[in-house]
């Protein structure tokens, strides 16, 4: 009886779209089964439920009238959002991905894996969210247009980086980060995993000198010339890659990393953590760009 009920359930949930004998069969069952009738009615009621009836007050695209105290608070909130998103923000579909951890022990570290990709990757539509933070005292954005791109070895090293973001990132996908630099500098990349673990991706060793890159558009890390990529792995969930720049080759990355990791350990709310990390990195290093992706199994 339980098995029959399960079969009927699948059928009645398609009730409106059934035709011919299937529809007759479903109607016959519904006539005799109050439980299935009630379930279908509840589902249909949920689908037909009126939407929320309210809306924001009339909005003419101009500044909303706010009390002076609230305006100051709103200004701070807008500035915070702009710092997180930036003027050169590029909104792409949200996608999650995770850099491959160098060591899997307890998932405590998420380090990039540098290796040559052996197999081609299937592309999918992806949504990525890119944010740029600029320091209040900087007039020019040092880094812009951060995006995560899949690496496809079967297309050859020269054009193996796609120009459009992937929709869904899956375990094992290889990728590079692409960005623009307004002036020569030393780019540094950090990573925030789904479970709040914060790590340094580039350079791999916080004590190592940070290579200098020239100003330019479409720069990539890891460099395509090396044939190296980062690999996504680990549990699915939202992940963020944060790119900033240092003015010299030996910024105090170990100390910055330790403070950021302490921050990450104490803040469970991801949005607030991201904002706080961006502010920390912007204060200690330079303007920050963030790309967030969603990793699916």
């Amino acid at each position: 009886m339980e098995r029959d009920h399960t079969r009927w359930r699948e059928l009645i949930l398609c009730h409106e779209d059934l035709e011919g004998p299937a529809r007759v069969e479903a109607d016959s069952h519904l006539a005799g089964c109050s439980e299935c009738r009630a379930l279908l009615a509840r589902v249909q009621a949920a689908e037909r439920s009126p939407r929320p009836r309210g809306m924001l007050p009339p909005f003419a695209g101009e500044a909303a009238p706010l009390a002076p105290g609230l305006r100051a608070e709103a200004d701070r909130s807008l500035r915070s959002l702009q710092e997180r998103l930036g003027l050169s923000r590029q909104l792409l579909p949200r996608d999650t991905g995770r850099a491959r951890p160098r060591a899997r022990s307890g998932g405590a570290e998420a380090k990039p894996s540098w290796r040559r990709l052996a197999v081609p990757l299937a592309l999918a539509a992806g949504v990525a969210f890119v944010a740029l933070v600029t320091r209040p005292d900087r007039e020019q954005e040092a880094v812009r247009g951060l995006r995560i791109l899949p690496y496809a070895a079967d297309r050859g090293a020269a054009d193996s980086v796609a120009t459009s973001p992937r929709v869904r990132w899956r375990t094992g996908d290889a990728f590079v980060l692409a960005f623009d630099l307004a002036r020569p500098s030393h780019p540094v990349v950090f990573h925030l995993g789904p479970d709040g673990e914060f790590s340094l991706l580039h350079p791999a060793d916080p004590a190592a000198p940070v290579p200098r890159l020239p100003a330019g558009r479409g720069l990539k890390l890891p460099s395509p010339a090396t044939g190296e990529t980062w690999i996504l792995e680990g549990a699915p969930g939202p992940e963020a890659f944060m790119l900033t720049t240092a003015d010299r080759a030996d910024p105090p990355l170990a100390e910055i990393l330790a403070r950021a990791q302490a921050l990450a350990a104490g803040q469970r709310r991801r949005q607030r953590l991201l904002t706080a990390l961006v502010e920390l990195l912007a204060a200690d290093l330079g303007p920050v760009q963030t790309v967030e992706i969603e990793h699916v199994p």
């Binding site: 009621a45 949920a46 439920s49 924001l56 007050p57 998103l85 909104l91 969210f129 949005q271």
Partner: protein, 218 residues
């Protein structure tokens, strides 16, 4: 703290042309358009969030999440430009829903984390629910709409998501959907059948519709 000014193009343009230009930029994911959108809408959203909660951190969280969600809504095709004023009308309704939904999620998260807050805490202005009767009813509608949209987002096929969105959100007929998607009617029926089955299973789980106590009403 100085407030960012609107762009010169926005100031000088005819409002309808400015709206159209902004929409096209947002649909294309243009960073300039996103920046302009945030400048023009943030304080309206924040002002509404302030009516729903007293804590600045919560107001900021809800506002940021709502605005980011709105930009994603545009990317997901949840808006179709229908002429002058249509975007701002959509924004006013959608932003209202988004802020309420973020508030609902935030309070549930805090309840799980043991902050001891309930839905009734920190709501200084019940008229913030647009004066539409019992606020509990409005919040229930928000919950249901959020569940429907979340279940739509989980559908594995973009075609299923698109046709069901047209069916539910825009109340289109099967024939209209076929024309809008440039697809055969039988294909549309197939997408809807498969997608609706998955959607309904998801809704049953999300809203607890299996139990009689999970009955949904206005």
């Amino acid at each position: 703290m100085p407030r960012p000014a609107a762009s010169a193009s926005a100031r000088d343009e005819d409002p309808a042309a400015a709206e159209r230009r902004l929409v096209e930029g947002l649909l294309a994911g243009d960073p300039e358009a996103v920046g302009e959108f945030l400048e023009r809408t943030h304080h309206a959203v924040y002002g509404y969030a302030a009516r729903l909660g007293a804590e600045p951190e919560l107001r900021r969280d809800w506002s940021h999440a709502a605005l980011i969600g709105l930009v994603e809504d545009l990317r997901q095709g949840r808006f179709v430009y229908r002429g002058p004023g249509s975007f701002w009308a959509w924004f006013r309704k959608r932003a209202y829903f988004r802020v309420l939904d973020e508030r609902r999620r935030g309070l549930r998260r805090r309840a799980r984390e043991g902050d001891g807050l309930t839905d009734e805490d920190g709501v200084p202005d019940l008229d913030a629910y647009a004066g539409q009767g019992d606020p509990a009813d409005e919040l229930r509608r928000v919950e249901i709409q959020a569940a429907v949209e979340a279940c739509l987002d989980k559908l594995p096929s973009a075609d299923q998501r698109r046709v069901l969105w047209l069916l539910y959100a825009e109340d289109r007929s099967y024939q209209e959907i076929a024309e809008l998607t440039a697809s055969p009617l039988n294909t549309v029926r197939s997408w809807i059948l498969r997608g609706r089955l998955l959607l309904r299973k998801c809704l049953i789980a999300a809203l607890g519709l299996d139990a009689p106590a999970g009955a949904v009403g206005d």
